[in-house]
């Protein structure tokens, strides 16, 4: 479903020095791949490149057969709206919207009917174990709950690809496990593919495959 070929990215501002190069990746629909690597290896940058948030210096990205490198900003935006879901380490829950509205946000961006969006958001919240919390404000929620909201938001519009960047990085191990359960469970249920960038061996172990990002590209990681 996602095919990445010879993807290259230099350090920001210095054209010569490569951050990573020769990244090759094939991701099948419904597959969950974890990407590990040292701090500064460019894991987040790789995700950003795959989402069109950062320009790449070479290579090809194809999603469901469509070549993405070279798309302009608006085309990337449209693509992200329809096909991508994001889960961030820092949650990125808008504090001035209530929980249901936060979840409905991707549907709003797709110009969905407001009531339908609200219904879908409430349904999604139930799925992540936050049924009945739709009217709550982000400030009233714990970190783990916030990340579940983020998961609900990432999946509410039925994306083909979920990019999760350290989704449990801000959570204590107990909560992290629970959140990961929800994330993997829901993504699989939705039939979406997922790239999971993580430091956590526990988290990586739950993926279908684990790849390590090095300066030369992605290599299969030995099981921890």
């Amino acid at each position: 479903m996602l095919q990445v070929r010879a993807l290259r990215k230099a350090f920001h501002g210095s054209a010569g020095q490569a951050l990573f190069g020769g990244v090759e990746l094939d991701l099948a629909a419904g597959e969950c791949v974890a990407i590990v690597g040292e701090s500064g290896a460019g894991k987040s940058t790789l995700l950003n490149c795959l989402a069109g948030l950062e320009p790449v210096d070479g290579g090809s990205i194809r999603l469901a057969g469509q070549e993405l490198s070279g798309l302009d900003d608006d085309a990337w935006c449209a693509l992200r709206r329809r096909r991508y879901g994001f889960v961030f380490q820092a949650f990125h829950i808008l504090p001035h919207l209530n929980v249901a509205h936060n979840v409905a946000l991707p549907l709003w961006l797709l110009d969905a009917d407001e009531r339908a969006a609200h219904g879908a958001a409430l349904h999604m919240l139930e799925q992540v174990g936050l049924g009945g919390r739709g009217e709550a404000w982000p400030a009233q929620l714990s970190g783990g709950e916030l990340q579940r909201v983020a998961i609900a938001r990432a999946l509410v519009h039925g994306p083909a690809l979920v990019l999760a960047d350290e989704p449990t990085g801000n959570l204590d191990p107990a909560r992290a496990g629970a959140v990961l359960d929800v994330l993997l469970g829901r993504v699989r249920e939705a039939g979406a593919a997922m790239l999971l960038v993580t430091h956590s061996a526990n988290a990586a172990a739950r993926a279908d495959r684990v790849l390590r990002l090095t300066g030369d590209g992605l290599v299969a990681a030995e099981a921890p």
């Binding site: 920001h12 948030l53 935006c77 329809r82």
Partner: protein, 832 residues
Amino acid sequence: MGGALRHVFIASLRRRRLATVLSLLAIALGVALGLAVQLIHNAALAEFERGVRILAGEADLQVSGARGGFDDALFLQLAAHPGVAEASPVVEVHAALPGREGSLRVLGVDVFRLAGVQPALLPAADGEAGMLAALAPGRIFLSPAAAAWLALEAGDALAVQSGVHEHTLTVSGSVPAAGAGQVLAVMDIAAAQQLFERIGVLTRVDLRLAEGASPVQLRRELTALLPAGVFVEVPQLALSEAATMSRAYRVNLSMLALIALLTGGFLVFSTQLLAVARRRQEFAFLRALGLPRGMLYRGLLLEGAVLGLAGGVLGALLGHVLAVLALRLVGGDLGAGYFDGMRPALHFDALLTLSFVALGVGAGLAGSWLPARSAATLPAARALRAGDDALLHMRPRWQGVVVCALGALLSAALPPFAGMPLGGYLAVACILATAVLLLPQATRLVMRLPGSPRALLWRLARARSHAAPGQAVVAAVGVLASVALASAMAIMVSSFRTSVDDWLTRMLPADLYVQASPSAASGFLDQDALRRIAALPGVAQVQPIRAEQVRLRSGGAPLTLLAREVGGGWGLPLVAGSLSTGEAELPPAWVSEAVVDVHGLATGALIELPLGGQWHAFRVAGVWRDYARQHGAVVIELETYRAISGDRRANDAALVVHPGVDVAVVATALADAFGENMLRVATPGEIRALSLRIFDRSFVVTYLMEAVAVLIGLCGVATTFAALATARRREFGMLRHLGLTRAQIGRLLALEGALATALGVAGGLLAGGAVAWVLVEVVNRQSFHWSMDISVPFAMLAVFAAALIVLAALAARIAGAQAMRQSAVQAVREDW
């Protein structure tokens, strides 16, 4: 943009309540003040227009001179002219009312001739008064507004003053068609001439043209009949005259309001800029979700527009309230004295209101334009990362500085445009822009100054300002703008007041002043009264002063003609020329600065004055400063005046008492001799005190606007620091972890606030000095034609500056209190 998506932006305004409310209030105040000034002025002008229309009625032409009037034999010629269908004579007197403040405009009319020209002035006799009451002496008819003002009804007695005598008139009915806003009274023309000792005098004749008569031709023919200083004009001229008269004043007030609005817009800018800085991650995340740049940009503009709209609507409401209050409390000219004798009523003007609401929206949009643009070009990937702190960078823009500074210099040198000092206003804007553009560099320089950075907080504050001067600059700019305007106004007012005070001292050399009635009204001192005054014990010298009005040209505002003694120590506050009359072939005249500006005269020039129906030439011997008569005044020797005009009356008399005589005793003797209410007797000290009180009152509106500007500046500091404090919660949490106490963080915020404000204040004072110079030398000179000596109220400015810095420090600290309430642990852990 998706309907629901609007929530994302609008809801954000709700969250930043303090900043939102303050920005909104600033815009609302600007809109309210501007709208109120316009509404009040429109109401006054509309009422004035109604007055002109009622008085002119169906007249095609009006023959009028100055207040002093002209020989009524002219009426016979005008009415008999074949081109004239109807002619209505009017003698207008501003009757002094003993025991009451103010004077009543009394129109002596011929009821038989009114009907064909000014039917709205027809008196309606009360049933009891009888049918010939409209002709009878001792009868007066009040317009509804006059009756309300005087609280009189038919049958009541009204005392009026003529000369130094009191007469009682019976209110015998009303002037029903005069309209609700016109304060006037009507009586028979012959009765008015006799009562007010104006036998043989008319002040106006309104003419209706015969069918088929050409107005142009007729004007030419009639002009040939007119004595010097009397002109035949179309009635609309009076309207444009009034509009012109008060225009400079109105433009001045509007400019102040505009500046308030501008400050409001700037406040939006600063809060939006900071909000954008703080919401970088939010925007980056929205971009990650697929929000296109354009939509982000529009969303932020929408936020500004919503703020502007809310502010505009609130301002429109507030403006109407303000206008109603001002009309009720101060009158249609905001205390400036342009529209006497009217009770204007406010009218809702949808278009005007909408355009001011639109101005509010404009201010909101303009304020969020740059921040929106910067947000839209944000590199999303980097901002997504947690912990990326918002730092604002501002670079000095030297080209801008040079352009603005040059612009200020050039525009200050421009001549007035249609009587308005537009160049002056432009110069003020350029000075402000220059100061604002210079501020970042100034901040940098100040932060580099070697100080005593031993104290930890000082070091932190300075480091912060140095690393991110943008924040300090944003806070400081608001302060700078408001301080510049407030201090400029303070310097201007102080210069004005000092100059007026000095002028009064020089204008009032006598021991005691006697006035028969305020300026134009119906009291006067005749020869007999002057003799009786001179004969009072203790009086050494009586110097009569005759004040009349003359018009030098058609359509021009009337000049005040002052006939008095000039030599012999009576003096004049000259700015050019001399008091010596010399052996010139022409009698001397001393003109005020306004005459110089408006009529382009200078010392040595020839000036022709209409006296006794003839033009008489005078030589300008000097130019004097006059703050009392905006349209100009000419002083000539009393003897010359009397010889030419034969008029031996006086309006005022200046008395010198014998050494050792108590002026209070003389004043009492005057009251005993003429009656309590007939003469106004005052010492120079009292006149000065009264004049300065009136002076201060007329600046009330200015003070109000200044206060608003300063308030808005302080709001800027508060919002800036509220926003900064929220954005820096993590930083403060970290500092708390390092062992800083809550109080210390409060002090840190206060210090930063004080630092930024001090910069703004310093810049503002410098810019204010420059603006004050422009106000004094360009704006005032061109608007009102008076010069003044600059006098800087140093102590007051110092107190003001210090107070502002303390207030700003407090504001910063209070605004930051919210941030400090949070637990340090939570603040460090939390991303938002």
